[in-house]
């Protein structure tokens, strides 16, 4: 298996003027293609900071990040947009669907920015919504559906351009248990189909769906466990 994510000596310092927050400290991490990873840690331990850097929404203060063979630090804004569009699928805690825009349109969006022809786009969006079990909700607006359904639309949208990694920052944080299980089952299914999935969560039940758990504390990677290495996992 090849490495899809390679992180070396990664640091992120937020400079808010008065205080400097060292959100990530010398993080080293390698994730291989097809892995199913949970990132855990207390609030403020730097999980979201790492996810934003992995998703190319933010840049590290120092250290290197190679995604699917691309050294992200060296890319210009246009190429960063291209990487976000083609390599990364991002699922947020608060869904982040575009308001007043149908489920179908939301799923089409990454393909619009990827310049996928309209016909192909439509077919793929329908196929994805069917895959997440919302084939009958194509024309529904985000305010007309439940949180669990919103998150499944967001997952469909994240998959639109066949990304190399699927990043989910507390995807079940706003969902009740049945909806959380639904979303996690979806991730598991996608991972079985070969998608690399990284999920941030606070809950052990959610982390239990994955095959590898990485723990953060005060910006440092303190634990990295794979299924089978320990009795409880």
């Amino acid at each position: 298996m090849r490495n899809i994510i390679e992180i070396q000596n990664l640091n992120k310092i937020y400079d808010t003027g008065a205080v400097q927050v060292h959100a990530l400290k010398e993080v080293n991490l390698t994730i291989q293609e097809g892995e199913y990873v949970a990132i855990m840690g207390k609030s403020g331990s730097g999980k979201s900071t790492l996810m934003n850097i992995l998703g190319c929404l933010d840049r590290p203060t120092s250290g290197s990040y190679v995604l699917d063979g691309i050294d992200v630090a060296k890319e210009n804004p246009k190429q960063i947009s291209y990487i976000r569009n083609q390599k990364i699928g991002f699922v947020f805690q608060s869904f982040n669907l575009i308001p007043r825009t149908s489920a179908l349109k939301n799923v089409e969006l990454p393909m619009i920015y990827g310049r996928v022809p309209a016909k192909e786009r439509l077919a793929r969006a329908k196929e994805l919504l069917e895959k997440v079990g919302l084939g009958d909700r194509l024309d529904h607006m985000p305010n007309e559906i439940s949180g669990g359904q919103k998150q499944r639309i967001a997952v469909a949208r994240a998959l639109a351009n066949h990304p190399a990694i699927l990043l989910a920052d507390e995807p079940t944080g706003n969902l009740d248990t049945p909806s959380s299980v639904e979303v996690m089952n979806l991730f598991t299914q996608l991972n079985r189909e070969g998608v690399t999935v990284i999920v941030v969560t606070h809950e052990d039940d959610i982390a239990a769906f994955t095959n590898r758990i990485i723990r953060f504390q005060d910006g440092q990677l303190i634990e990295d466990k794979r299924r089978g290495e320990h009795a409880d996992f």
């Binding site: 947009s81 083609q86 982040n96 619009i112």
Partner: protein, 404 residues
């Protein structure tokens, strides 16, 4: 650039915020419609005046002698003999030569009495005054020579005096100064002046304007201020006019600079450029309202960008490029202002058309005015949309996603 997708996006965003979009457009609508209305009004007046001069004739010129001390003795005025001398010398180049004399008079038929003006026409009257004769005909040169007591009445005056316009051959008792004459009606004409011209010339419905042979109201021994003439179309009015002016200076023993010559063409040019300048100035003032409209667009676009900060963040996270976001907002502001421009154009033309209906004038709306107005409004939209769009485009995705 995703132009097609962005146009669809812009349209749906305008649809979602109907009222706000309309209020934003209002600035452009008012600006564009007032520019078009004002400029077209000016063009309409100019064309009306141009038409009036066409009726008078572009071959027309007149001259008078300017007295340096403002005191006019007989040697500054023209007699019938002066006119004959000019006619002798320039008869081959002139089609008409007269004094443009007029006289107050009172007409009476039975119980009906009307006050008004008699205007004298010299030989070849058709060359000087293009009258729309409904009944009868103009005077012949013999009529003028022999000072025959003929008159051409306006349609409405004939109706008032006789109750009919079939009055050719009827006579009317007319008091001219102290004299009373029986004038025979030889023709009835229709006043073709536009409402505007009637307004400008101060003619009103209560007074009559009738035409008589000049000799009838200009007996031997009278003097006149000015000489009016029409130049044959194969000659240049300015050239011949200046020759006549020099000749007049010679026969009246005056300095050439004292003889003032004006041609209708030159006068019209002056009025035309005056009117043009006026509508340009007023149009420029109206154009300021376009800028105000543009600022309104910028204001709303800024609000819209702020409101949609989170949406912008999502789009960027999904891979939208800077230019994709830029064109999304630019296209939106351009569409708002171009739509405002189009509605404003329709409104402006409508206002001018309705105004034209009221004063009974054919209105002139130049296509280039419309094109300039609409293009200008789109440019205003893009210009004032640029700052908000750039603000949106360079938003940081993390910050934008965190925006509540």
């Amino acid at each position: 650039m995703l132009i097609f997708e962005n146009i669809k996006l812009a349209l749906s965003s305008i649809r979602v915020n109907k009222m706000r979009s309309f209020l934003t457009m209002l600035g452009m609508i008012i600006g564009i419609s007032s520019v078009i209305a004002i400029v077209s009004l000016g063009d309409t007046m100019r064309s009306a005046i141009a038409k009036e001069y066409e009726n008078v004739g572009s071959t027309l010129g007149y001259l008078y002698i300017n007295s340096p001390d403002g005191y006019y003795t007989d040697d500054y005025l023209f007699t019938a003999e002066d006119k004959d001398m000019v006619k002798e010398a320039f008869g081959d180049r002139l089609t008409y030569l007269g004094f443009n004399s007029s006289s107050k008079a009172t007409m009476k038929n039975g119980r009906v009495t009307k006050e008004g003006n008699l205007i004298g026409l010299a030989e070849n009257p058709a060359e000087y005054k293009k009258l729309n004769i409904l009944k009868g005909k103009l005077f012949s040169n013999l009529d003028v020579e022999n000072a025959r007591p003929f008159v051409i009445l306006e349609e409405k005056d004939a109706m008032e005096l006789f109750g009919s316009i079939d009055v050719v051959g009827r006579t009317i008792r007319t008091v001219i100064g102290t004299e009373t004459k029986e004038l025979t009606v030889t023709g009835v004409y229709r006043n073709q002046d536009s409402a505007l011209m009637k307004l400008l010339s101060g003619s009103n419905n209560t007074r009559f304007t009738a035409y008589v042979p000049e000799t009838l109201i200009f007996p031997k021994g009278s003097t006149a201020w000015s000489l009016y003439f029409c130049v044959k179309s194969s000659y240049n009015v300015e050239e011949v006019g200046n020759q006549v002016a020099r000749y007049v200076a010679k026969i009246k023993n005056k300095e050439e600079s004292q003889v003032m010559f004006y041609s209708a063409q030159k006068e019209m040019g002056t009025i035309d450029s005056m009117m043009g300048g006026l509508s340009a100035v007023v149009g420029a003032i109206a154009a300021i309202s376009l800028v105000v409209g543009g600022i309104g667009i910028m204001n709303i676009m800024l609000v819209s960008v702020t409101e949609r900060t989170r949406e912008i963040g999502i789009r960027k996270a999904l891979g939208a490029r800077t230019q994709d976001i830029l064109s999304q907002f630019l296209i939106e502001s351009a569409i708002i202002s171009a739509a405002g421009g189009a509605v404003g154009t329709a409104l402006g033309i409508g206002v001018v058309a309705i105004g034209g209906m009221f004063v009974n004038m054919a209105v002139v709306v130049k296509p280039q005015v419309v094109i300039i107005a609409v293009v200008f409004s789109a440019v205003v939209g893009i210009f004032f949309g640029l700052y908000p769009a750039a603000k949106a485009a360079k938003a940081d995705p993390i910050e934008a996603l965190r925006y509540e």
